[in-house]
Assembly symmetry: C2
Homo-oligomer: 351 residues x 2
């Protein structure tokens, strides 16, 4: 499998990844090598990782999994661990886990002693194709997602598709949403391929998604323009995800589950405002509902979700900016949307 | 007073600073302007600042002063404040305070929504000539100083020497240590000028110190080489400062007070290892003891301080690297020092 080159780091997939990792470690003279895992990856991925990794690991730290632990208090535990085990500026942190873990571990490494090297080894489909690529890292502030963080690139990202076999099916399916998004915003043929062949977990598709994201990030690393298209489905999706996370009466949604809903809603708005054809909209709704069960939202739910919207980090001056589709494969950014359309979008989703 | 140009921001001193600030605000279209103060600067500096600032301030947040509040928990309060008052990516944070406040405020701004603009307005001599320049920011982890942070430059640094009149004399004197350090590491004539004329608080000297620090930082922003000379006196000085802060039986030292001791100790080591002339060493000791009262250290104190040394963020691979002087005005970096010299250095300090 071909490696994907970023400006400052490389993404290696499959058999190349192990060699790239061991070469990197041999070249760099790290003072200490730390590995961050969560309860799941410690059990299901760490043993395989240890077998393929030729250097000695100095210390392993385990955090609790899940978005509810993606907070500064968990960072504090990891910073203290690194400090207690004599981590210094020449130490390396290897993040072995899903998006929550690579986001949090990347932030901890970027801020420990003003920045140490880190390597991301994503273990979920979602983090392989999205979270671990692009250098965004950080943690949540209360129910507000990714409010605290920096943009800082890892030394390398290593993708081992065999880790997907350790996941529950719901976790794998969650990753489909970001992959389908890559098709929707940038590559109509890829969208068609994915939904027709239904072969998301194949290395070639993981590689295709990474290449799309990486291409966008290289053109606009700090999200001044093009990179915003990656937020399609995320403006409403994030608000839905936050709302379900903090509301004890709602089932917690995985990230992909929330943005799948977000993409149907923002697809509807795209149809209303940007001429996305009705047929394309229906294709989008039908595709996501094939993989993601419909969620019921009451009037009160919707009101609360819309309140959370205004805190979304992508907004400024209080306006709510959306990424919308003109057609499948062609996204536009910075579109302001009047509030009455949101309710209509939820109506369409619920139909 | 001439402004000092950095790569990405400018330092403006005195009458130019007010105009520069108001021009910057007029040019940028900030969505919100927040000001961070502490209990002291709210009382003594905020009224004067408001008079010279032509734009409306959206909201002001007050933190407790002092190194003991330079922790992630205080950051959390400021992040929550920014979030609660609808701060977004186009917001500005103005940090009005001493080194603790500009270090903490700079870190909060650099990590809020992955980085918003900030402006430092240092109100102590120490922060005017040191902390607010160079882009290092961050907070302490337990008793360990500056363990969490990033390097990120402010939009501008504004120095108003009249704020020095609001300080207690001990606070002003603390700043002398960093200014004398600038002479010791880089400019022998400046060292002589300062100690003979005793006119530290004059705008021309503040400007000279800033120019020395800025010159060093421009050559080596990420501290791979030359920038390390700024750590003269800090390796032992930081350990002494941390030890006194966490030990209820020791008087808490201001940063300048601690590094003044550190510079005498590291001056002694410079004499032993790098041929710093005995007369220069005695001149260094005499000068610092003129401004900074001698502190008593017991055998137990010294043992505990040396234990803290190994956590200093500048060390790697467990070695302890020092900046030493070959002569006044000429520093060398990355010198390893055998442990038995530390005790001798403390003996010399105590003589």
């Amino acid at each position: 499998m071909e490696s994907v080159k970023s400006q400052t780091y490389e993404v290696h997939i499959g058999e190349l990844a192990q060699a790239a990792l061991n070469q990197h470690i041999a070249k760099k003279n790290y003072s200490k090598i730390f590995v961050l895992v969560d309860t799941n990856t410690k059990k299901h991925c760490l043993p395989a990782f240890k077998k393929m990794f030729s250097a000695p690991i100095d210390s392993i730290f385990e955090i609790e999994p899940g978005e509810e632990n993606k907070h500064i208090h968990t960072c504090l535990q990891v910073w203290e661990f690194l400090s207690n085990f004599d981590g210094d500026r020449k130490s390396l942190l290897i993040n072995l886990g899903g998006g929550v873990l690579t986001d949090l571990g990347g932030f901890v490494a970027s801020t420990f002693k003003r920045g140490i090297d880190f390597i991301n080894i994503p273990t979920t489909l979602l983090s392989m194709v999205d979270a671990s690529i692009g250098g965004k890292n950080g943690v949540d502030l209360g129910a507000l997602k990714n409010q605290i963080g920096v943009i800082n690139q890892p030394q390398m990202v290593l993708v081992f598709p065999e880790f997907l076999k350790t996941l529950e099916p719901r976790q794998v399916t969650s990753g489909y949403a970001e992959m389908l998004k890559h098709g929707l915003i940038r590559d109509a043929a890829y969208w068609v391929d994915l939904k027709e062949k239904n072969n998301f977990s194949e290395a070639s598709n993981i590689q295709r998604s990474i290449a799309i994201k990486n291409d966008v990030v290289l053109i606009d690393p700090t999200e001044k323009g093009l990179r915003k298209i990656l937020n399609f489905g995320h403006t409403l999706g994030h608000a839905i995800e936050s709302y379900c996370l903090e509301n004890p009466n709602k089932k917690t949604l995985l990230h992909g589950e929330a943005i799948a809903i977000g993409m149907i809603l923002e697809g509807y708005i795209s149809h209303e405002l940007k001429g996305l054809p009705k047929l394309s909209l229906e294709e989008i709704k039908e595709t996501f509902l094939k993989y993601f069960e419909k969620v019921d939202f009451s009037k009160d739910d919707i009101d609360a979700i819309l309140k959370l919207l205004k805190y979304d980090k992508k907004n400024s001056h209080g306006d709510i900016n959306f990424v919308l589709l003109q057609s499948i494969g062609d996204a536009v950014t910075d579109i302001k949307v009047a509030e009455e359309l949101f309710q209509k979008a939820f109506d369409y989703y619920g139909e």
